[in-house]
């Protein structure tokens, strides 16, 4: 004799499979604030970011590109306002754009070789991906808002977009990010990409 006593249309269909049972369980991850699993991170305000950006620019003007890069990678904005995060991304991209292609690898190797260097390159990788995600790149100084990243409806609109200078400069920024990405992977390995994906501290 079958254990199932009654067949109903509900038990025969597989609609029950779509019930989200996690929502019904009291102590499931869905009903639990996952952020409490990690120690809290210090909050960074926009004014602090601007201040840091000023210092970094000063280093850049003084010709110390490596110091500028280190400076902005050692203070990533993990916990802060959207504007603060965007402003710091702009600072990082500005520094990256100002460094010559031939200087990239030696500079990364020097940073990687120092104490905490591996962490710095992980942060750099996070900013590279964030920069690529926001697509608009960083030639302008105004912070970008997500509304600028409207998805293009068809593949053809890309062709139309090419006429715009904004897209061209974005393309240039993207190529800078891509060449940095290549160099960072050469130095810090694929582990760097994996950490960017797994890390709960988002920039």
């Amino acid at each position: 004799m079958s254990i199932i006593q009654q067949h109903t249309s509900a038990s025969l269909s597989d609609a029950w499979r779509t019930i989200n049972i996690d929502a019904l369980l009291e102590d499931s991850t869905q009903n639990f604030d996952v952020s409490t699993l990690h120690p809290p991170l210090p909050e960074t305000s926009e004014s602090e970011v601007r201040q840091l950006a000023g210092q970094v620019r000063q280093l850049l003007r003084g010709g110390d590109a490596e110091g500028a890069l280190r400076g902005c990678l050692e203070f990533p904005v993990y916990n802060g306002e959207h504007l603060a995060k965007e402003a710091h991304l702009q600072t990082v991209i500005e520094v990256l754009q100002s460094i010559k292609a031939s200087e990239m690898t030696p500079m990364l190797q020097r940073i990687y070789g120092t104490q905490g260097g591996s962490e710095c390159l992980d942060v750099l990788m996070k900013y590279l991906y964030k920069g690529m995600a926001s697509a608009s790149g960083g030639s302008g100084s105004a912070p970008r808002t997500p509304s600028r990243m409207t998805p293009q409806q068809t593949g053809f609109s890309q062709m139309g977009g090419r006429a715009h200078t904004a897209t061209e400069s974005a393309g240039a920024a993207m190529s800078v990010l891509l060449s940095w990405h290549e160099k960072v992977v050469e130095v810090a390995g694929q582990g760097c990409i994996v950490r960017t994906m797994t890390d709960w501290r988002k920039v």
Partner: protein
Amino acid sequence: MAAPEVHHLFHHPIADHSFSQDRKTLAIARENNVELYGRVGNAFKLKQELKSHDKLVTSVDIAPNSGRIVSCSQDRNAFVWEPTPEGYQPTLVLLRINRAATFVRWAPSENKFAVGSGDRAIAVCYFEDENNWWVSKHLKKPFRSTVTTVSWHPNSVLLAAGSTDAHARVLSSFIKNVDARPEPGVWGERLPFNTVCGEYLNNSAGWVHSVAFSPSGDALAFAAHDSSITVVYPNGPDQPPKAIVSVNTQLLPFMSLIWNGEAEIIAAGYDCEAFRFKGGPQGWQLAGTLESKGRPGLGDAREESALNMFRQMDLKGKVKDDTQLKTVHQNTINTVRAYETSGDSVTKFSTSGVDGRVVIWHT
């Protein structure tokens, strides 16, 4: 270094493998069954299939002294396979979990075992003589997510567990009338069931794939999905640890690790090869691969005749066959286990992976 011993059993992923103490029997978790292979000369031949699970078997372990096999599966069950003259007899274990069982290991005392599960719990199972069956007690707190791996302390009371909530934890699984009262140690003095002796996570906090106590049991290592290994040196109960050393590597994440003495760790994972780490409380470093690169006999040795070259170009459009990895394993390594030990150090270890190979390496 002698060449590794490669056994290509089949073209299916191996979820877990375990050798018997005499190393003549090899248990393999393949799909819904546990397969037992016997050593015939230099090869392993399929001897017996243990069929009772009806979903993927996730883990299998042979107790070295009693010869009992325990297996667990995504069907939420575990079986203990008792060796009898008529073959292995399965006994169902009441796990009382409602998600997949992910990982199982015998305690060194062999009178209990721990099953990790997706139910955010570990079932610690022991045999109850009055009722003549295996029962389980749950370690539920403080897991917030699937328990992916467990590892026993040499005293059979402390249990390390790794979870997808990114924490490696050390808990007590003390069961009255089963365990002897443990000696007080660095992890704690009084250890009633479910005492949390330590909770660790590293900076980037990837989910944990593997945990292991050092041979003395006084240090804990874990590998996480952020391509790192972290070693924790505790400093007595209720004290912050003496040292937590984390090594972020340039490699892909490690799936499994074992200790070789107190100053060496062997880890393997998505890079399809095993790596050696060396260090101590002051720091740990990656000391290189255990694979001897440029081994002869992997395609390189094939004679390059002009005819062969043009045939390759015609058939494949290229001269070099680059479909093979340069490593012995051709896919992710899931499990690393000690194969032969002398004292605290491992002289040989075995690995198995998604490529259906079991490889025995010299350290």
